[in-house]
Symmetry: C2
Subunit: 458 residues, 2 copies
């Protein structure tokens, strides 16, 4: 329990109503999208200005109190929750879009802006902010940057790091650090924007972000393709990429996921299909036509059954199946473990096969869906934490999924980050030298390890 | 002078013929594309294997000897030359393309590979490596990464950092650090690839780079546009961007540069033109047609005179004027000072006017050319270092050029980096907090300051 005197110090900085320390408040800030043993923070603060964040850092340094910065808490790897009590700094009250420049194509935002708010804003003006994590209607842009969030459009448009032009952040000493800017090219000083993207709150507290926006593609065409064979579906993904077509999105659902979604939603998915692809092409109208002809030919060859959306509302209807995947799987069993193993795109067929054989080998339920086009699959294990015997098999299965991804030149995490969830696997992928380098970085920039300690293995 | 015993230690690591210590050799490694007072290294080594680089780092640590890693030395800000003697580690013998994967669209290269070698290689197979610094026929990919090199295609295709998927480097302790990989999405561990891009040799010695390649655009159209008014030329640039056309390249030459190029080359440039734009559109054929119609309309409105290249060889002929800009300006006066100030694209007209008025105010010759489309101008001062009175005016002019760029929300350097050349201006752009953060980074990762000391103000 935090003392009244210390609470007062926090209140002096951000105002009384922006300091939360009740049991209920601290409890709710002990969770994010990753389910682990919750550790309640001592205090939650909601600063409204950059200067308040500087002052909070000075205070926490004085108290030697850990600081965990938090957006909406939609994080899937435990990046937004404390592991050592301390202070949670919420960005919820720093949610202003400060500027959108359509001529020079950038937006300046505070970290607490909801991803979809920015996306909708620029879309109304004929522009486009491509990164679209599935959580975008609740996730914050600050959280997206801290986790280098991906999404459905990674294949063609890249991920959050590809849209960060610059930022301002407060470091562990309370200093203001400015990096990048509003120009397309910038080579003055280190690429600290690149460094901060995906750093999971380890090196500073972001107060402002400059994001690139682009003109909206002139045309798009969306479709679903049902397959009676999973291998034929994943082969179609590889064939489409090999034909140099870059769809804006190319998502996959396996049969287990299809049946789970249909059971939960009754939206009329073909429950006998072994896989469904969700494909959207965009760009110049003539380019979309040409690409569509290629996609059609490849899917036909692989015995896929194409349904084209004739309108935006038809697309939204078809896309329901993809959007409901995670929530539908979550209904199947008490515990859901969402993985994020990613392979080079051409290895999707191999990886799908591996996941199926791992599921059989350990006799556990895995529904696989995800961003097939960029190799980023979400094998999702449905289990029950209260069954220790099954949990042992689950752990072995996870190890084998990771091993399979690494053997195929892939990675443990495509877009969810390391946080608490994957820290113990990190050395396997990156090697000892990398871990040592990360530790030197942390030591040099946050000597007392007060910035989101316990994350990324640090 | 370095002792024979120490030389022997270097020879033991890389072989006798790969250690250079003669007066002539060390002299030639004391220069790069930035002209400053040369400092000769004690020794130059040309390792061939990653393990040799590790061993060199161990040796230099033992001797407390500074290490400067060097590609082809085409650097324009002094990043590749020592300021404290020590050891120059040349990557010239590490010049293998290890793998090109056209299905998953990446290339794995050693740092000493010449940029154009990779670009030509992938082009022959219908692919495209977009970053094209003007020095690409001699520059190395390792150097491009260390300096975050730009080029003519920055506007549409971005710069080197947008193509680095992963890398391996040796840190100051000789440890091997691996970051990123071969997948489009990767979120396991910090974005150390982003961190290393543009770090100018300050944090490690790159031994392997994984670079993204993309399918080659199906069509392109190149043209030059002459204007009788500089403002109308720069207004055309701003109008084209505002019309949401993204040319692959959009370069500008002012009248001073045009006359200098024509005097040097007699290639038939219109010497009365106040500016020439060099524009190339690429993409799907129908998209190129549509974009061309817009560009044509805008240039006509601004009284520009368009010449279209009907073939690749005609394009190369027209493009000569742009390619010869720097070398032609270098003939005008004994000393050339190439600046790299960059502004948001819409501010190009303002910046061009500012540069003209600064030239008049201080009565100095400035030829301006550069990447108008991405706001990255190269105002080039022609002067004579032996004239101290003029040099004083030159220094004041440079200060005012930087001030103008910063006032217009721009940056000191778009693509040449900081190195020795711009270190003293850095705090003005980034602020004290950023400089302190950079120092903490350096201290944490290279305690004795042996990795390319004296660069980026460190």
């Amino acid at each position: 329990m935090i003392s009244k005197a210390i609470l007062k110090e926090f209140q002096k900085i951000v105002g009384k109503e922006k300091v939360l320390a009740t049991e209920a408040a601290t409890m709710s800030y002990s969770y994010d999208g990753f389910l682990d043993k919750p550790v309640k923070p001592d205090v939650v603060v909601q600063p409204q200005q950059d200067e308040q964040i500087s002052k909070l850092v000075f205070l926490c340094q004085k108290l030697e109190m850990p600081m965990t910065i938090r957006g909406s808490g939609s994080n899937l790897s435990g990046g937004a929750i404390p592991v050592k009590n301390g202070c949670v700094i919420s960005t919820s009250a720093m949610n202003k879009i400060k500027q959108i420049d359509y001529t020079d194509m950038y937006a300046v935002v505070q970290p607490g802006v909801i991803t979809k708010t920015l996306a909708d804003n620029v879309e109304r003006n004929g522009f486009f902010y491509p990164p679209d994590p599935s959580s975008m209607s609740i996730s914050t842009l600050g959280g997206n940057v801290a986790e280098n969030a991906g999404g459905l459009r990674g294949l063609k448009y890249g991920v959050t790091k590809d849209y960060v032009m610059g930022m301002t952040f407060i470091d562990s000493d309370g200093n203001t650090v400015k990096t990048g800017g509003k120009t397309v090219k910038q080579a003055s000083g280190f690429n600290l924007s690149g460094f901060m993207v995906g750093s999971e709150g380890s090196f500073g507290l972001i107060t402002e972000i400059i994001l690139k926006i682009t003109p909206r593609p002139a045309a798009s065409r969306a479709m679903t393709v049902d397959f009676d064979d999973l291998n034929k579906a994943s082969q179609s993904v590889a064939d489409i990429i090999a034909a140099k077509v870059l769809p804006a999105t190319m998502e996959i659902l396996d049969n287990y996921t299809i049946r789970s979604v249909e059971a939960a939603t009754s939206i009329g998915l073909p429950v006998d299909a072994q896989a469904i692809l969700f494909i959207e092409l965009d760009g110049h109208p003539a380019h979309v036509d040409d690409d569509f002809a290629i996609v059609q030919k490849i899917c036909k060859k692989n015995s896929g059954n194409i349904k084209i959306a004739r309108s935006e509302s038809e697309k939204n209807k078809l896309w329901q199946g993809r959007r409901k995947a995670l929530s539908s799987l979550a209904r199947v069993k008490p515990t859901l473990i969402l993985e994020d193993a990613t392979v080079p795109r051409s290895k999707i067929p191999d990886m799908m096969k591996k996941i199926q054989s791992i599921s059989k080998k350990f006799n556990i339920s895995i529904g696989t869906f995800g961003h097939a086009g960029d190799g980023n699959l979400h094998p999702t294990i449905l289990t029950d934490r209260r069954n220790p015997e099954e949990m042992k098999r689950v752990e072995k299965a996870i190890d084998e999924i990771f091993d399979a991804a690494l053997e195929l030149d892939g990675t443990l995490s495509g877009e969810h980050g390391v946080g608490i969830a994957k820290a113990r696997y990190l050395e396997k992928e990156l090697g000892k030298g990398t871990i040592l380098f990360m530790k030197k970085l942390k030591k040099g920039l946050d000597e007392k390890n007060l910035l989101n300690p316990g994350k990324v293995g640090l």
